[in-house]
């Protein structure tokens, strides 16, 4: 259960008060968005997280009727710069004082008068601006890449400004997979919502389903069965292991190391197989649901899982030796795509990216989800902030996750895995679900109106924070190393575009 306190703030104080509250010791910035309160009023809200006691507070201030502006906090909290741009796109508002104002997800390809969340009573929307940062000077040339890529990956446009083979600046434009997930979540019947929530970024199906379930359970004030919590932990860690294997394999393939790519590809397949053993589907979709688990896990499956786990561990250790002990691999990964700890912290990096740049933050140690924070997690940190550090963090996390899975499976509580959940939600309440997904801190933030309907469902995918890290890390590197640097972050395009 994550306690959420409301902190109303006067519009005039917003710019000074929010950064002040976010900078208190033990607190961090979570997300920033707008919701529609009673009577159609727009409320600007900032979610701040308290790491010391695993609680949260929501600072809110009204947007003046007919207004098309709000004051930006980006100069003081750089981590909020994308969130403010997204608000601009979706609500037709301008963040005054934002150091680099431009549209984020609804760019030129979208109709210029389309503001999905704006209504006519809000007054005239503030027009969007789409522009790339241009780099001047002799010999600077631009390389446009995407949105359609050669591999089977998500669409995104990358605009490089280069001096010879060196990247001077990278502008990232996402927004090619905008599906209106947040709006859909507030519209669909509650029993269908979990399937939509999972699709926010389907490679993190368990994490999204879990954050969704935790938030709804908090709204109801309900606690799922112990067995469900334990199995959810296993499901979440399996997802982490499978994706980390996939990432390490992709890193190997990006430096042309075919042996490493094939080896880790096989391991990823094995880890996805665990997902199938546990939940019946390789990506574990539809498994975690509000109230517990959608179906029971039998003892035979659990025995099979424990057995295949013990077979995977030595194989994983061998594979890591092939990759990490190879001098060629070390040479290609070390010192490439450095994200300095100070910048990682300022721009609010989360997950393995943050931990590779020295941050000790892991949501599993602070916020209630599944068996966490009751379960001891070895937080994997590195300080170099380069591609090698990000790979190293993943390697460490694979083994600590495997250990966690074994630990949880060894002491799995008996009993049912599902409690009955109410048909409706309590009115005028707010709850958040925070999960350490394999990419990092994932937030589902639900607010209900007076009728007990979801009035705003906001999702803060870890990728939404970390994309800025890619743009920073690639500066001054070889253009040729960009795919490698990008893969060392491996962010979700769809998760940042809801």
């Amino acid at each position: 259960m994550i306690r959420v306190d409301a902190v109303p703030i006067e519009p005039a104080d917003w710019e000074s008060s929010v950064p002040e509250r976010a900078r208190r010791k033990g607190w961090k910035y979570g997300h920033l968005t707008i919701r529609r309160a009673e009577g159609g009023k727009r409320l600007l809200e900032a979610l701040l997280l308290n790491l010391d006691n695993g609680s949260a507070e929501i600072a809110s201030t009204p947007i003046i009727d007919g207004g098309s502006k709000f004051s930006s906090v980006t100069s003081a909290i750089p981590a909020a710069h994308w969130a403010e741009q997204a608000v601009g796109d979706l609500w037709g508002l301008h963040a005054s004082g934002h150091p680099r104002w431009k549209s984020l997800i609804l760019h030129e390809a979208w109709p210029p008068d389309k503001f999905p969340f704006a209504v006519s009573a809000d007054g005239p929307p503030s027009p969007r601006e789409s522009k790339f940062l241009t780099v001047g000077g002799q010999g600077v040339h631009e390389i446009p890449v995407g949105p359609i890529h050669a591999g089977i990956i998500e669409p995104g446009h990358f605009r490089f400004s280069c001096i010879g083979e060196i990247v001077a600046n990278l502008d990232i434009r996402l927004g090619y997979v905008h599906r209106g997930v947040e709006a859909r979540l507030a519209a669909v019947p509650l029993r269908h919502a979990r399937h939509v929530a999972e699709s926010a970024s389907s490679d993190s199906a368990v994490a999204n389903a879990l954050a969704h379930a935790q938030a709804l359970e908090d709204l109801w004030g309900l606690e799922g069965p112990k067995r469900a919590a334990a199995v959810r932990t296993v499901a979440l860690e399996i997802e982490r292991v499978a994706n980390h294997f996939g990432d390490l394999g992709a890193l190997a393939s990006d430096i042309g190391f075919a042996l490493g790519a094939a080896t880790f590809g096989r391991l990823r397949g094995a880890a996805l197989g665990f997902g199938q053993t546990l939940s019946g589907t390789r990506f574990q979709r539809g498994f975690v649901c509000p109230g517990g688990l959608a179906w029971e896990v039998g003892d035979a499956q659990l025995r099979l899982l424990t057995q295949s786990l013990s077979e995977l561990k030595p194989a994983a250790a061998d594979a890591c030796e092939i990759l990490f002990e190879n001098p060629g691999v070390q040479e290609r990964l070390e010192g490439v795509g450095i994200l300095k700890p100070s910048l990682a912290d300022e721009f609010g990096m989360v997950g393995p990216t943050a931990r590779a740049s020295g941050s000790p933050y892991d949501a599993r140690c602070h916020f209630a989800h599944a068996l966490f924070p009751g379960l001891a997690v070895d937080v994997a940190t590195e300080t170099a902030g380069d591609a090698f550090a990000r790979a190293e963090v993943r390697r460490k996390e694979v083994f600590s996750s495997l250990r966690l899975i074994e630990e949880v499976l060894a002491a799995l509580p008996q009993g049912g895995s599902l409690v009955k959940t109410p048909e409706t939600l309590p009115p005028s309440k707010t709850a958040i679900g925070i999960v350490e997904a394999w990419r990092g801190e994932l937030i589902h933030w639900i607010t209900t109106d007076e009728q007990g309907k979801i009035s705003r469902y906001a999702i803060r995918d870890p990728s939404f924070q970390n994309w800025t890290g890619v743009a920073i890390a690639v500066r001054g590197n070889l253009v040729m190393d960009f795919p490698l640097i990008n893969k060392s972050f491996n962010l979700s395009y769809s998760g940042s575009d809801l």
Binding site: G256, F257, A258, L259, R332, V479, F482, P483
Partner: protein, 302 residues
């Protein structure tokens, strides 16, 4: 008779070599890989497909594959890379300088064609390939010159078939093969199987080619690979492979050696890591140093 063998090998070996490389690479990664002859099936498929040509492309783009293939065929016909007797042996047609710069002309056209489409990747690839060509040229030229020096003739059709001292053969042969890896855009300099445009060298220059156009280029690449490997094998092992009175035996042993080299490349591509672009010059410098040493030995020891 010997010329007929040369022509048969010229047609069969390049295709077979690409099959062997691909299969070995797959086996090295611990997977069965596609059927052995898949590269040939792919080539046939591409020859039967239509092509898409950028609207900004001029005649150079269409002519490039034909220029490349013609030059590769001429070189393959006159250079005794198969161990059998090439066309016009001893007539001076296979002059060292002529051959090296014929290949350079083919590259010149491929770079122009890459720039021709106006795609950002074409320009990127062309600039990288040009930089690489500048690095490789001395190594290829000097290693072949060492053989010419040792055998007393600039005509490759004679030089490659005359007995050369072991030290010169070893040094110039290894220098030539190392440079060939870079020249042919193979690992560890370039990853021919990558789909990541930004990391490509050679592949970036042919991204806009499709269908028949692409099939011609791939045929050329296969032919060039076989010729370079063949020349390397002749320099390194020529003495051992030649059997003076039986053309079939010398050709068969040369072909076997070329395919073995293909297996070696497959193994290398399976386990190697692509070099950082900044380290490529030192890789080529290593080959150049070997070439210079071989030329020194050939000049002093002759």
């Amino acid at each position: 008779m010997s010329l007929a063998i040369h022509i048969v090998l010229l047609i069969a070996l390049p295709l077979l070599l690409s099959c062997v490389i691909r299969k070995t690479k797959a086996l090295m990664q611990g997977r069965p890989g596609p059927p052995l002859f898949q590269p040939i099936f792919d080539l046939v498929k591409r020859f039967r497909k239509g092509e898409t040509v950028s609207s900004t492309a001029s005649w150079i783009f269409r002519a490039n594959p034909l220029v490349g293939l013609s030059i590769a065929l001429v070189v393959a016909m006159v250079v005794p890379w198969t161990g059998a007797e090439p066309l016009a042996r001893g007539s001076g047609t296979a002059d060292l300088i002529l051959i090296v710069y014929l290949l350079a002309m083919a590259r010149f056209f491929s770079l122009l064609a890459a720039l021709d489409t106006g795609s950002a990747f074409g320009g990127l690839g062309a600039s990288r390939e040009a930089a690489l060509a500048v690095l490789i040229e001395p190594s290829i030229l000097v290693s072949l010159s060492a053989v010419a020096l040792a055998s007393g003739t600039m005509d490759l059709s004679v030089a490659l078939q005359s007995p050369v001292r072991g030290t010169v053969a070893l040094l110039s042969g290894s220098a030539f093969l190392l440079a060939a890896l870079a020249e042919l855009s193979r690992m560890p300099v370039d990853d021919p199987t990558t789909h990541l445009e930004l990391t490509m060298i050679h592949e970036a220059t042919i991204l806009e080619n499709s269908g028949r156009n692409l099939a011609l280029i791939e045929t050329t690449v296969a032919l060039r690979t076989a010729v370079f490997f063949g020349v390397g094998v002749q320099i390194l092992l020529g003495k051992a492979l030649r059997s003076p009175d039986n053309a079939i035996v010398s050709a068969a042993s040369s072909a076997a050696a070329i395919l073995m080299l293909g297996c070696l490349l497959g193994v290398l591509e399976g386990i190697a890591v692509k070099l950082n672009w900044r380290r490529v010059p030192s890789f080529v410098a290593f080959s150049t140093a070997l070439a210079v040493m071989s030329a020194f030995v050939a000049a002093v020891g002759a």
